[in-house]
Symmetry: D2
Subunit: 446 residues, 4 copies
C-alpha cells in the first residue's frame, strides 16, 4: 500500500498515468529512438535503427530497469543497457551514442510536460467556460459586495464570478507562455557542446527534435536551464492560489450566517455531528494550494546549478514535478466540481443585502452631496460617516437618518430614493462582465 | 539612522528614489489628477480641475500626509484631505469623487512599477550585452567543463558564458510578459463596479488611464488581481536565482585551487587575514537571491483575498515590493560589476584541463570504439570506465593506458590522437554561442 | 525619506532602536572591548585597555565608519580602524588582535537578539495575560463553535480564547528554547580554532563572554552555526502564524452577518464608503505573517555555508533579522491592541447560536440514542443526519422533527430537553480553560 | 507503478512502513480502542469492549475502508463503520461514541510521529557517533581552512568534522524538544469541549491517552494546534539544511582540483563519460533539502485555521508529513553512507595547504608585529596585505617576502619560523573538538 496520497486519493488517473514510471520510461525510450534517428541522419548509425529502437519501448519493463539501476547506481545507464540488449545487433551498439543522460531526461520531461500541460489547460478551459456560463446566468442577481469581510456596496453574483473568469484567463495566458520556455528539447550531449557527434551535432539535434515536435534550447549546459521549470511551477502555484481564492470565497459564502451559496452533495459532513454539511471539497483546494506554494521554493532553488550542471536538481525534480501536477489536477477537478454543483440562494443574498439597513449606500449619498449639494467631498464623507454611526447606534436605516439630517433636507427626495435602488447603483457591471468574457475568449482562443 | 539596510547599503539611489515615500505620494497625486480628468470628461467635475490637482503634487508634503494619517488611521483619506485642502474651491470638493483608495494605490503601483521595471530592464540589458561581449571575447579560450563539480569534457569560457546570455534573455522575455499583466490601471471604484460614477465609469476609466498611458484590467474587484504581483516577484526571483548561479560560478572558479577567474578589486578581504581577496560581491548576490525567493512566498499568499478584497495584501506589499526591487537592483549592479571586472587566467584554465591526464576524453574514445571498432556502446563505456580507473590508480595518462590496452591496439593512432586534441572535441560550440546571441538580440529587440 | 515601511510605519520605536545602525555599532564596540578584556586576561594586551575601548563607543559615529567602509570595502575593518584611532596608544594597537570580523558580528548579534527577544517576550507575555483575563471574563458566555466555517456545537467565548492562551504559551516556550541556541557568543577567531591567541584562546573567550553574559558555542567555524538563526526565525514565523489565526478569528467574527465581536476604534474605514468600520488592524497582522513566513526560507537557505564559512549569509541576515523582529513587534502590538479593544456582542452570539434551529445538538441526540436507546452509533448518526436534513428542508427545529420521529418517541422527554440546554452541553470547558491557564503560568514562570 | 518517487526510490522501507496506509489505519483503530477504554472507565460503554476493538485491527482492510470512503465521502466515518460492523454487538455500537474524527486522526498522527521520530533520532545518533569517531580519527590531520572558498588558515580535518558533531547535536536537541509539543494526544471531541462524554470527558481522555502513552494537549479546538506540526517540519528542514551543508562540503572537497576526500563507491558516474566518479549521493542530499525547505511553508500556512477548525490542513498534511519524513530519512541514510565511506587523501590536503605559499599565515605575522614589534594592529594588517600582494605577484612565498621586508627584519627568525609551522597555529582545536563531543554526549544522553 502506498505512502503518497497522490497514488490514490488526490489527482486523476489521467494525470497519474502521465507521471507513472512506465510512461516516463516509455518517453525516455522514445527520446533514445529520436536520437538514433538523428544519428542516422548524421551518418553515425545505420539506417532503420531508430524505428527498431522505438519498437523496443513496449518490451522495456520498468522493474528490469530498476533492478539494473540498483546494481549500476545510474538510471539512464540502466535504461540504455536494457534497450541495447533488447535491440541486439547491429543497432544496439549505437543506442545513446554521443548523448548524455540529460539529453534523455530533459527531453523526456518536455514530452511529459507537454501532455501534463494539455490536461491542465483542458481542465482550466472547462473551468473558465463554466465560470463564463455562471457569470452570465447570475449576471443580474443582486448580492452585497464585501471588502474587509464587511458589507461594502451591492454587486451581482455574476459580476463576482466574472472576476474569476478574468483572473483564471490570465493564468491560462501564463501557462501558454511558460510552455514555450519549458516544453523544449535538449539534445546537446555532455556539457552541451555536442562534441560527441563529431561536428554533426546540429543535424542530430534537429532531426531528433523535429521528430518529437520540440524546439531546441538555443544553447544549454549538460542540462536544460532550470528557470523554465521554476517558471512552470510558479504558473501552477499562481493558478493554485487563484483557485484557493475561489474556494475561500465559496467557503465563506457557505457559512451558516451568510448561506448564499452551497455545494450540492450527498457527503457525510462530520463523524461527530450528523447535521454538518461541510465545504470539504473547497477546503481541500485551499490545502493543496499550500503544497504548491511550498514546491515553488524547491523549484527556485534548483536554478543555481554549478558550472555545466550538478545533480542536485534531480532528486528535487523527481518529487516536485509530479506532485505539483497532481496537486493542480485535483484542484482543477475540485474547482470544476464546485462550480458545477453550485447552488445559489438568492433570497439569502437579498436578505444579507438589507442587513445593514441601507448603510452600504453611503457612498452614493456622499457623491450626491458633492455633485448636487456643492459640499466638498472630504466633508461629505465625514457627514455620512457620522450619520452611518448614528444609524447603527439607533438601529435605524440610513435613509431615515439621512432624510432627517440637515444635509438630507437639502437633497430632492427622488435623488435620495435613487441611492437606495440597488439596481441603479451597479455602475457598468454588465459591460465589465462582457469585457472579462472577451478577455477569456481571446486568451483561450475561443 | 535607519534599520533597513536597503536605505543606504544595498540598492542604487536611482531605484531608491522610485520607491521613496515622496515619489509614491507624488504618483498617487498624479492618479488623483487623472481621475479628475476622467470626471471632467464624464461631466462630473468642472473643467480644468485636473491640471490644478496635478499642480498640487509638489506642495504635498509626505510628513503632512503622515501626520494626518496618524490621526485618521487611513493613508489615502489623509492624502485626499490634504490634496483637497491645498486645491481649494471649486475643484477641491471633487477630488477622489466616486473613487476608492485602491484606484489610487493600485494605479500608482502601476506607475511606480513601470519605472522600476525600466531600471531593471536597463541593467539586465547592460548585463546581457556584457555577457555577449565576453562570450565572444573568450569564444575559443579552452577550459574544462565541470559536471557534479568534476571534470567532464573541454569547453570554452565563451561557451560557458553564452549559456548565461541565453538564460538571462529568457528572464528579459519573462519580465516583458509580466509587465503586460501588472503595469495596468485600476480605476473602477469600490467593489469594482464603477457605481460611484453614475453610469459614466467607462469614460472616467478610459480618460484617466489614457492620460497615464496604462491599459485597464478587464474587470476587477475593489483591487487589481494579485496574481500579477506574484508573477512579477516570481520573475524577479527567477532572475535573482540566475544571478545566484552566475555568482556561484565565479565564486567557484575563484577558489585558490581552481584560480581561473578573478574579480579585480582593491577591497580588504578579511579583518583577520591580510592575504585574503574574497569574492564578497559575488557572495552578496547569492545572499540577496535568498531574500527574493522568500519574498515570493509572501507575494503568492496575497492572491487569495476574500470577496471583493481584504486588506491583508497591503502591509505585505508595502514590504515586499520595494525590497524585491532594491534587492534585484543591487544584484544586477553587482553582476554587472563582476562581469566588468572579470579577469581570466587562461594558463590556469589550461593547467586544470590537463589535471586528470586526458581522462576527460573518455567519451571520445568510447564513441570511436563504437563507430570504428564496432563495439557495442554499452560495452565500450564499460571498457573505458575500467581503463579510466586504471589510469587514476597508476597515475598514468588515459592515452598511455588506452594505447596499451587490447582495444587501444584496434584503433588507428591518428584517431586516438584526434581524441586528445581538445580543440577538435568542442562540437558545435561556435554555432551554439551564436544561437544564444541571436536569441538575446531577438528577446531584447536589439 | 525612507523606502522601508519599517522605518516609520510598522514596528515600535523601542524595537527600531535595537536594530538601529548606531545601536548595532555600539554593540560591536562593546564586543571589541570584551575581546580586549580577554586579551588582557591572557596577557596579550596591557591592562586597562578594555575599559578605554568601551569608552570610545560613544564617540564612534556610524557615518564615520560607513565613510571608511566605502573606501575599504569591509565594515568591521572600518570599525576597527576608527576605534583604534580614537583609542590611540598604547591600547589602540591591540584592538581586534587575533580576532576575526564575525567574532564581533556574531557576538554583537547575540547581544542585539537578547534585547530584541526581551521585547518580544515582554509583549507576548502581555498578550497572554490579556488572553487569560479575557478567557476568564468570558468563561461562560455562550456562542456557537464553528468547524469548516459551519455551526458545530456550543462553546463559550472564554473557551475559544483559552485555546489562544495555550497556543501562544507554546510559542513562549519555543522562544525561550531557541534563545539558548542563538544568544551565544562566538569568540574563536578566523576559522574558529582560536589560533590567533597563541594557545590562550580559551581564556580570551571565557573572559570576553563572561563579561558579556553570554555562553559560547561549543565549537564553531569562522562563524556561529546558522541553524540557530533559522530556528529563531522559525519560532517568530510560527508565533506570527498563530497571531494570523487570532486576527483571522476576529476578522471573521466581525463580519456583518456574524457581528459577535468588534474592535473599538475611531478609524476611518474606507475612502469611498463612509459607513465602513474595517478590521484593518487585524488584516495587517495577517499580512505581516506572510512576510515572516517568507523570511524563514531565507534563514533556512543560510545554513549550508561552505567550509569554514562563506559570506552569503551576511547580506541575507542584514535584511531578514531586523525585518523579522520589526514585523513580529508590530504584530504583537496589534494583537495586544485588538485584545484590549475587543467588544463582545453577547446578544449576537446568542442569536447566532439559535440560527440553525437546534441542529447543532445532533451529536447529543446521537449519543442518547446509543446510550439510552441501544442503537448502534453508526446507525444513530445516519438517523440524525436524515432528521437534520428534514429539519433544514422543512424549516423546523431539530427538536420538533426529532420528537415526532420514530426514534424520538423512544427517548424520555427530559433527556431530549437536556440535549437542547446548551449550558449542559459544554463538557469540561471550565477545567480545560484552567488547564490552559496553568500551562501558560508554568511556561511564563508566573 | 507509482508516481511518487518515495514509494520506491527514496526513503527506507522502515520509514515507508510507518507511513503506509495499513499502518496508519492500524493506528487509528488503536486510538478507537483507546477511546473505548476511556468510555468503559467513564461508564459509557460496557467493559471489555476496548480489547475487542483493538483485536479488529488486523481484520480492517484499507481497501474496504477506502471503498466505503468513496461512497460516504469521509474517511473516519468509513473506518468507524467498518470497525463497528466487524465488532458486532454489543460493543460495535459504542465505537467513536462522543468522539470526533480528529480525536482519531490527530492522536494517530502522534503515534505515527513517535515511531517516525524514533527512526530519525536513531539514524541521527548513528550519524553523530560516526562524526565523533571521524573527528577523533582525523583530529590531527592538517588541511587548509577555507572561508569565502579561499584559503584562510590551517585547520585539521577532525576539527572541521567536529563542527558537524556540534551542529547535528543541536538538531537532536531540537527534535527532542519538538517531540514534547507534537507527540501529544487529542481526545476532546467535537469543538474540543468534551461535551459528547456528558461531563466525564477528562476520564475518557486520561484513560485513553495513558493507555497510548501520550500526554494530552492542555486544551484544543476540534483539532490539535498546528504550531506543533510546523515546528516539527521546521526541525526536520533545519536538520536537512545541515545535512545539505555537510553534503556540499564533501562535494567541494571532491572536486578534481581539491581532491581531499572521496566517497568510495562502485557506481557508474555518467552515461556519457566513462571516467566520471560523481558525488551523486551527496548531491541527492542537497536536492532533498530543498524539498524539505519548501514543505515548511506548507506546514506554516496550516497554522491559521478558522475558529474551532477548518479542514484545509488535512490535504496539506497528508502530503507534507510523510514526504518530509521520507526525505529526511533518505538524507540521513545518505549522510551516514557518505561518512562511512569517506576516504581522505592526506597528501592532497598537505599539497593544498602549501598552495598559496605561506600566505595563509599572514594573520600570525600580523599579530607578531603587534605583540613583539609594537606596531598598531591596523597598520600591521595593512603591511601584511601589501606583502601578501607582493608575494602573489612575484610568485614568492610569504616567508621570503616577509623576511626581506622592513618589518621582517625587526622580528627574531624563530618567531617568523614559528608562524610557518602549521601545527603550532591550530589554537585550541583539540579542546574545541572535545567540547563538541561533550556537547553531543550530553545532548544524546550518551
Amino acid at each position: 500500500m502506498p505512502v503518497c496520497t497522490f497514488e490514490w486519493r488526490y489527482g486523476s488517473n489521467e494525470m497519474r498515468e502521465v507521471f507513472s514510471r512506465e510512461h516516463i520510461i516509455g518517453k525516455m525510450v522514445e527520446v533514445e529512438a529520436a536520437i538514433m534517428k538523428g544519428l542516422e541522419a548524421a551518418g553515425l548509425a545505420p539506417e532503420g535503427c531508430w524505428e527498431k529502437t522505438l519498437s523496443t519501448a513496449k518490451y522495456v519493463e520498468p522493474e528490469e530497469v530498476d533492478a539494473l539501476e540498483r546494481r549500476l547506481g545510474h538510471d539512464v545507464v540502466a535504461l540504455v543497457t536494457v534497450v541495447s540488449s533488447k535491440l541486439g545487433e547491429p543497432c544496439g551498439k549505437y543506442v545513446h551514442l554521443g548523448a548524455t543522460s540529460y539529453d534523455v531526461v530533459d527531453t523526456a520531461w518536455a514530452l511529459v510536460l507537454r501532455e501534463a500541460l494539455a490536461i491542465v489547460k483542458k481542465k482550466l478551459k472547462t473551468l473558465i467556460e463554466l465560470m463564463i456560463e455562471l457569470s452570465r446566468k447570475y449576471r443580474d442577481v443582486l448580492m452585497v459586495g464585501r471588502t474587509h469581510g464587511k458589507h461594502a456596496l451591492p454587486i451581482t453574483f455574476g459580476f463576482k464570478l466574472a472576476n474569476y473568469v478574468y483572473e483564471l484567463s490570465r493564468s491560462y495566458e501564463r501557462i501558454e507562455e511558460v510552455e514555450g520556455r519549458v516544453v523544449q528539447g535538449k539534445i546537446a550531449g555532455a556539457v552541451g557542446t555536442m562534441a560527441g557527434w563529431f561536428g554533426r551535432g546540429l543535424t542530430v539535434e534537429e532531426v531528433a527534435l523535429n521528430h518529437l515536435g520540440l524546439k531546441p534550447h538555443a544553447i544549454s549546459t549538460q542540462v536544460a536551464p532550470r528557470d523554465g521549470f521554476a517558471e512552470l511551477i510558479s504558473a501552477l502555484a499562481i493558478l493554485g492560489s487563484q483557485l484557493d481564492r475561489f474556494a475561500l470565497e465559496v467557503r465563506e459564502l457557505m457559512r451558516d450566517e451568510i448561506a448564499e451559496v452551497f455545494i450540492s452533495s450527498g457527503e457525510v459532513g462530520s463523524s461527530a455531528m450528523p447535521h454538518k454539511r461541510n465545504p470539504s471539497i473547497a477546503e481541500r483546494v485551499c490545502g493543496l494550494a499550500r503544497v504548491l506554494r511550498g514546491l515553488l521554493i524547491t523549484a527556485l532553488e534548483n536554478i543555481p546549478l554549478m558550472h555545466e550542471r550538478d545533480l542536485t536538481n534531480s532528486s528535487a525534480e523527481r518529487v516536485l514535478i509530479p506532485h505539483a501536477f497532481l496537486a493542480i489536477d485535483q484542484m482543477l477537478e475540485d474547482a470544476v466540481a464546485i462550480a458545477s454543483r453550485l447552488e445559489v440562494d438568492e433570497a439569502s443574498m437579498r436578505r444579507n443585502l438589507e442587513l445593514t439597513k441601507g448603510n452600504i449606500m453611503s457612498e452614493c449619498l456622499t457623491s450626491k452631496l458633492v455633485i448636487l449639494g456643492g459640499i466638498p467631498r472630504v466633508e461629505a464623507h465625514e457627514i455620512l460617516r457620522k450619520l452611518s454611526r448614528e444609524s447603527f447606534e439607533k438601529g435605524l436605516s440610513l435613509k431615515e437618518v439621512f432624510i432627517k439630517s440637515d444635509v438630507g433636507k437639502t437633497l430632492p427626495a427622488e435623488e435620495i430614493d435613487e441611492c437606495f435602488d440597488y439596481l441603479k447603483y451597479l455602475g457598468n457591471y454588465r459591460e465589465l462582465i462582457e469585457r472579462a468574457v472577451s478577455y477569456a475568449k481571446k486568451a483561450l482562443g475561443m
